[in-house]
């Protein structure tokens, strides 16, 4: 996917990045919308009860922030990507702060597959890789269940293959 995030695409010839499902955009937007509705509802009640321009300004700010975060969410999902290499899994994400994580299969402690209620409704799941280091953060959201299961099984198999202690 030709994104303008050059810094997140190292080794373009050797690494084949896989995108996450675009449905994740919808999921993120719904999550965002829920918070927006709650916030706006609170502010509207405040305005009705107390009145004054401050409340209206607050609502406008929240809506503006929502629009901005929605654009970020859309582009953020496109920035997600993962690649399975021979020895390690690479995950990249982030727009403002770009992150790339390389986790060797041998260092994997366990794999989590989770799916929240909204994610489930759209048939998506999140795969998270845990290593012994708390700082490593290899999370791949927005995978279709079969891809999540495949990734999980592959990772587990590879992890067991090359398992070792610390």
């Amino acid at each position: 996917m030709p994104t303008a995030v050059d810094a997140l695409q190292p080794w373009p010839d050797t690494v084949q990045w896989r995108p996450v499902s675009p449905k994740l955009i919808t999921v993120d937007l719904i999550g965002l919308a829920v918070w927006q509705v709650i916030l706006v509802a609170g502010l509207v009640t405040g305005w009705l009860l107390a009145g004054g321009w401050g409340w209206l300004a607050g609502i406008a700010a929240v809506l503006l922030l929502g629009v901005w975060r929605a654009t970020v969410a859309v582009r953020g999902v496109r920035a997600w990507g993962y690649a399975e290499r021979d020895n390690d899994l690479m995950v990249r994400h982030g727009l403002l702060v770009k992150r790339l994580t390389i986790v060797p299969y041998a260092r994997m402690q366990y794999v989590d597959v989770t799916a929240g209620p909204i994610e489930r409704a759209f048939g998506l799941a999140t795969v998270q890789l845990h290593t012994a280091a708390a700082a490593s953060d290899a999370r791949v959201p927005g995978l279709p269940p079969e891809e999540a299961a495949r990734l999980r099984d592959r990772l587990t198999a590879l992890g067991e293959d090359r398992a070792e202690g610390l």
Binding site: P10, V97, R107, A132, A133, A135, G165
Partner: protein, 519 residues
Amino acid sequence: MTTTQTPEQAQRQRLHPLSPLLHGAKTLFVIIAALSWQTLNRLGLVHFAFVVGAVAVGAVIFSAVGWWNTGYQLVARELRISDGLLFRRNRAIPLDRLQSVELRRPLLAQLTGLAELRLEVVGGNKAEAPLAYLTVREASALREQLLALSGRTAAAATPATADPAAGVPASTPLLAVRNRDLLISQLLTPQAFLLPVGVAFVITQFVMEGSWTFIGIASTVTAMAGVLLQPIRRVLRDWSFRLARDPGGRLMLHYGLTETRSQVVPLHRVQAVRITWPFLWRLNSWLYLQLDVAGYETPDRGNDTGSDRLLPVGDQHAARFLVGTVLPGVDLAALATSPPPARVRWLHPIGLRFMGVGLHQDVLVTRQGRLAREMTLVPYARLQSVRVVQGPLQRLLGVATVYADAAGARSGAARDRDVAEAWALAEELARRAREARRAAPDGQISPAAVPATTPVPSAAPVPPTALPPAAALPPTGALPPTGAFLPPAAGFPPPPVASPQPSVGQTGDDAFWQRPPQA
């Protein structure tokens, strides 16, 4: 006291019967501290004593019930601990996950001949299961047993060498820190400099107001003590610091005055070593070393309860010797780093020349810090993951930060490298980590691999004569890169190929530590 491998020691054992009393005393102390001087003032001495007495009795009864319900047992390769009064808890600790064992003896425990056994287990973010209290004899026997059981396949030979006949395994002393140095080093801290100011402030305050009540003074002193006595606490904690190596090649640390701690760390559990040169210590060119073992909680600034000391204070020779011991084959004086590109000056106006990264044969070296300079060594064999992070400002400058995460609390961070260089570095780190793992599949440095040639001075501290001159700085760029390493433009110092002969560069020690070589 025998360290024979009885794989099943099935009966459940209790902690020492005095434990409830000690726990009670500890609780009491905490509660009295919470009650504060103000309460004493308001209640009067008699009532206060009465409250304290009631609390004491309650605490002891509570601890006694807890003691009754607490037990541990060793089943095959697991330590099972059950405790809890309302919520019964049974924990099984797989011993192959054991990282280090520490034997702590707080003041009261020292008086009664007891000790507390703390296990560091990977996965838990705090010390799992402190067994408090056991007799010292029981505790050290249990520790020996746990460590013997925790050793994996390759270390199976360890227990055999660890119990020559019976008794304490003979360990070789490596180093001892002089208490005088420790005292001076803690006087050279910001807090120690603030102490006179604080005292003067308090005295003038009382002189001005003329209110010389005992309670007033006492509470002010207590409040000040919390902040300003940190150096004193450090002195008490690190008093008579001794380091030794036991026959199994494990590191044994022993220190403390009011609370003695004795810690055993298998060398292959060391995840990272950090060297720090505090600003004020540069007068004496002193430094301290910290050890990172998986399972240590993230060290907070100012939180001194952790047991991550490898050397509380020492000079460069001691540090060099210890680093070479803990990470065999690593010579502290030969760890050159290259600074980030000059355009990063916008982000770090001052400290640029103290930042840097270097790839050496077995370790990644990163440096940072302006006033207190830090150097972090992460062995490739311990790398858990590699991360590249680029913030918005960094993107403007075309730089990125590479993190090398080990299982400990600290990561090596190569800050603000050129993007192309960052990628190359990440790839190179991943490759080296893979190779290092392949070379030692168990992630373990076998005792045989520990160089027997390491100078082990029997008298402490390490005499400088035992070491070659510490100013061996390999001429940067003089050595050819090993293999397809990095694009030459990236400007890394090539890794020193197979123990560079200490070329006698007459860079003074200080000069070396304060000035990374310009690549």
